[in-house]
């Protein structure tokens, strides 16, 4: 197990380096620079800015300077938010995204598991149709539409909840539902289909033939086996949810990190783009590692094969 962990960590570092290098190079290819604005600056002012941020140095030196900074935990200055460094910006905004993402994950798991289970067990019944209709809606409805509908209905028309702030429990509900809707629907649909498949397997039939109670057949045999594909998608899903969503944070004015995935690119804020990309990659690698370890709990053979 320790060997596996070490191997995965080394793989993770390699992935981080490749992602950092590719992002660094791609950013330099993109047209437009961080200091382009409606007001064209005099050449002497541009020269001062480039010197301040080392953009006048050869690309290889900028690259090494950046990697050196990252190795020391310094993600560099932001070209847009001039009073703060990227590390500080991420440290201040990531916790909000983590909280929102964790709530959305929790919501997704707590709703998707029973819904998928019920839909699979009562296959082709009214319960199944209701669950899967809602799931189809959740998958197909873009979150900016769902967010706008919730604001209009729940906040504006009914006045039940406030929006546009992140300061008490009432401001958390609508963004959590909006962010969790698609993953919940996806997980429920996935669990239903794998459970239906699993329940037709020989080992489930054997368990039933042995006279096991139906609840044990489902919980211990069918459900546990069906969790493997669900766990596989949970890794990337967790990374995506925990690093924040541009749309949800934008629509509900949540001070998280997700917005930077878009705004840092449009601002050509190279260090901030690099910073959020590295955070996302780290979480993705970490989440996949956890999923790999969970495989061991669900089915120890997977770890043994590795």
């Amino acid at each position: 197990m320790l060997h596996l962990l070490l191997k995965r960590c080394l793989h993770g570092l390699l992935v981080l380096w490749v992602v950092a290098t590719l992002t660094f190079l791609l950013l330099r290819i993109a047209p437009g620079g961080p200091f382009d604005s409606e007001r064209k600056l005099p050449p002497e002012v541009i020269a001062n800015l480039e010197a301040k941020y080392h953009l006048d140095e050869p690309l290889w030196r900028q690259y090494l300077r950046y990697l050196g900074g990252v190795a020391h935990g310094d993600l560099g200055p932001s070209y847009k938010y001039l009073d703060r460094g990227v590390t500080e910006i991420i440290a201040e905004t990531l916790p909000t995204s983590l909280v929102l993402g964790s709530l959305a994950m929790l919501f997704a798991v707590l709703v998707a598991l029973p819904a998928g289970l019920l839909a699979a067990y009562f296959r082709n019944s009214l319960i199944d149709r209701c669950c899967m209709s809602v799931a189809a809606l959740g998958i197909s409805l873009p979150n900016f539409v769902l967010g706008a509908l919730l604001i209009w209905g729940v906040a504006l028309q009914l006045g039940w909840l406030q929006i546009g702030r992140w300061d008490d429990w009432s401001s958390v509900i609508l963004p959590t539902i909006t962010l969790a809707a698609a993953p919940t629907a996806f997980l429920a649909a996935l669990l239903r289909s794998t459970l239906i498949e699993t329940m037709g397997e020989d080992f489930v039939r054997t368990a039933r033939a042995k006279g096991l109670k139906e609840i044990w057949v489902i919980a211990k045999h069918a459900l546990l086996h069906s969790l493997i594909p669900v766990l596989t998608v949970m890794g990337p899903l967790a990374a995506a949810l925990l690093t924040g969503s541009f749309v949800v944070e934008y629509v509900f004015a949540i001070p998280g990190m997700g917005r930077f995935f878009i705004t840092a690119v449009t601002d050509r804020d190279y260090p901030l783009i690099m910073g959020v990309t590295l955070v996302y990659t780290t979480l993705l690698v970490g989440a996949n590692l956890i999923v790999d370890l969970l495989y061991g709990l669900v089915d120890p053979r997977i770890i043994r094969v590795e």
């Binding site: 047209p31 437009g32 064209k40 002012v45 800015l49 938010y81 910006i89 504006l156 546009g164």
Partner: protein
């Protein structure tokens, strides 16, 4: 979004004002800030030598008077001695000298350093050619006297001293705290409010400054939210959770007709213009007759309709409210004259004219305008017009390297003087995307800058505007902007000025 049935969740207090900045201010360091979000915070934290009055003329603030000598090349500012920083120290002329030299210092890398290039040796110092800041022509003669020496008479220079980047700074504070001197625990300010907290991407809290030399403001607390989405911000206003909404950050275009019926709805004219520029160094727009034909074929009256109001059709360039504004200048809609000029240019009924590419940066309003003009030119001039949009930074790169033959651009005033608008099109201006060069235009602008008499300056700018929009028709001005605003009926006294600044110092609860 319907207002009917809206439920309020209002939790406000009478001396607590809540406004929306829209986004995080990139910087509260007025030497490096460049955007109006940052300036909207800074303008409520700080005061400078002057501010512009209702006629957009510089009025005294910290400078109680000033004297011009040496033909307008030397300005001596006499400062008040009762203006205090929030830590109780007096504001001195040395604070201005330090701030201005810091703005010019290459290490600061200020994007607005060029605004002071009229000062003796300022440009050389900013370029690093001159190492000794003592040789720059700004000097504190004593605590209350600031002497500025210019390279040439510049009648607009006083207007520059209204601009936030020229506000004073405390050397001891900046040197002590470095880059983090703008954080709430470190910053000292001299304006109506102090910076109490700054939560990133979330909100800024200001508190009334008891040491403000004009007296403590009525609002004890101001919260500035950072809500990006206009619909969300408007919902907050309608729920009673926001007290002021402006069009730039909180009012969606489509909601304007509905909101216009509210008694608190106001349109505030802005010193901001939009135009289409022509690439005069490329065929077919190297022909001034063709450019005039295209400008004459634009029916500008349509813009207020398609953009839901708040736009004043423009044929000239200097906006209303500014010295030398003259709406009679320029080429007003005249399809007959346009077709005649098109024929004279060698393209009768549009024959022989290649497809024209019209470029703009991706934004809904720009798209509506481009589509309207595309239709007008196709109908009036019988030309094929292709419209092309690009993401903002890509578009800016395109403007600087290989601009579209017809390209959208706009300009908002840095300071309320026509020089700021007209200089865009001088031969060596980086904003002259059409690459037009006319020595006569440059000469007129130099003369106007040196001229102290307003009537004579106006005459000179009239001539320059005629060259720009009629004779050479380098640009086709489209409209000047006005900003829609909503102030909650619970408050009065919020002044939103023509340069998109919220002045909060006189805000009071209604009825008091």
């Amino acid at each position: 979004m319907a207002l009917a049935g809206c439920k309020s969740t209002d939790k406000s207090a009478a001396d607590h004002l809540r406004v929306n900045l829209g986004t995080e201010p990139p910087s509260l360091d007025w030497s490096i800030a460049t955007d109006h979000v940052s300036f909207n915070v800074i303008a409520n934290l700080m005061v400078g030598l002057t501010e512009f009055d209702k006629d957009l003329k510089p009025a005294p603030v910290i400078a109680k008077s000033w004297e011009l000598s040496d033909g307008g090349q030397k300005i001596v500012f006499k400062l008040r001695d009762d203006v205090l920083w929030s830590d109780g120290k007096k504001v001195r002329a040395q604070d201005f000298e330090y701030s201005w030299k810091r703005l010019l210092d290459p290490k600061t890398a200020s994007q607005y350093a060029y605004i002071l290039f009229d000062i003796v040796n300022a440009a050389d110092y900013a370029q690093g050619k001159l190492k000794d800041p003592a040789k720059v022509g700004v000097k504190a003669a004593d605590d209350q006297t600031l002497v500025v020496t210019l390279t040439h008479p510049a009648s607009y220079f006083l207007a520059i001293t209204t601009f936030e980047v020229t506000y004073p700074q405390r050397q001891d504070i900046i040197e002590k705290h470095g880059n983090s001197w703008t954080q709430p625990a470190n910053i000292v300010t001299n304006g109506p409010f102090t910076l109490a907290s700054w939560k990133q991407q979330n909100e800024i809290e200001l508190r009334a400054n008891g040491k403000y030399f004009r007296g403590k403001p009525a609002m004890d607390k101001v919260t500035m939210y950072m809500v990006n989405e206009k619909t969300t911000a408007l919902t907050m206003y309608e729920q009673g959770n926001l007290d002021f909404a402006d069009e730039s950050h909180s009012i969606p275009t489509l909601d304007k007709p509905r909101l216009a019926k509210l008694p608190e709805y106001k349109l505030v004219p802005q010193l901001r213009g939009e135009y289409y520029g022509f690439a005069v160094d490329r065929k077919p727009f190297d022909n001034p007759k063709l450019r005039r034909a295209f400008s004459l074929a634009i029916d500008r009256e349509i813009f207020p309709k398609i953009l839901q109001g708040g736009k004043t059709p423009a044929t000239s360039w200097i906006p209303p409210g500014m010295l030398a504004h003259n709406p009679k200048i320029g080429l007003a809609y005249n399809p007959e004259a346009a077709r005649k000029l098109l024929a004279e240019a060698g393209y009768p009924d549009g024959k022989g004219l290649p497809p024209i590419v019209l470029g703009y940066n991706t934004q809904e309003d720009h798209k509506l305008v481009a589509e309207a003009i595309q239709a007008m030119w196709q109908k009036t001039l019988n030309v094929v017009v292709k419209i092309e949009n690009q993401e903002w930074k890509v578009y800016l790169k395109k403007l600087q390297t290989d601009p579209f033959v017809v390209h959208r651009a706009g300009w908002g005033a840095d300071y309320p003087d026509p020089d700021n608008f007209m200089k865009l099109f001088t031969a060596n201006s980086g904003n002259n995307h059409g690459r037009w060069k006319n020595p006569q235009y440059d000469k007129l602008l130099d003369q106007a800058a040196s001229e102290a008499d307003s009537a004579k300056r106006t005459e000179l700018y009239d001539q320059a505007q005629k060259l720009l929009t009629e004779t050479d028709a380098v640009i086709a001005p489209l409209f000047w902007k006005a900003e829609a605003t909503l102030l909650s009926p619970k408050f009065t006294g919020l002044e939103y000025n023509s340069m998109a600044r919220m002045d909060l110092r006189n805000v009071k609860p209604a009825g008091k």
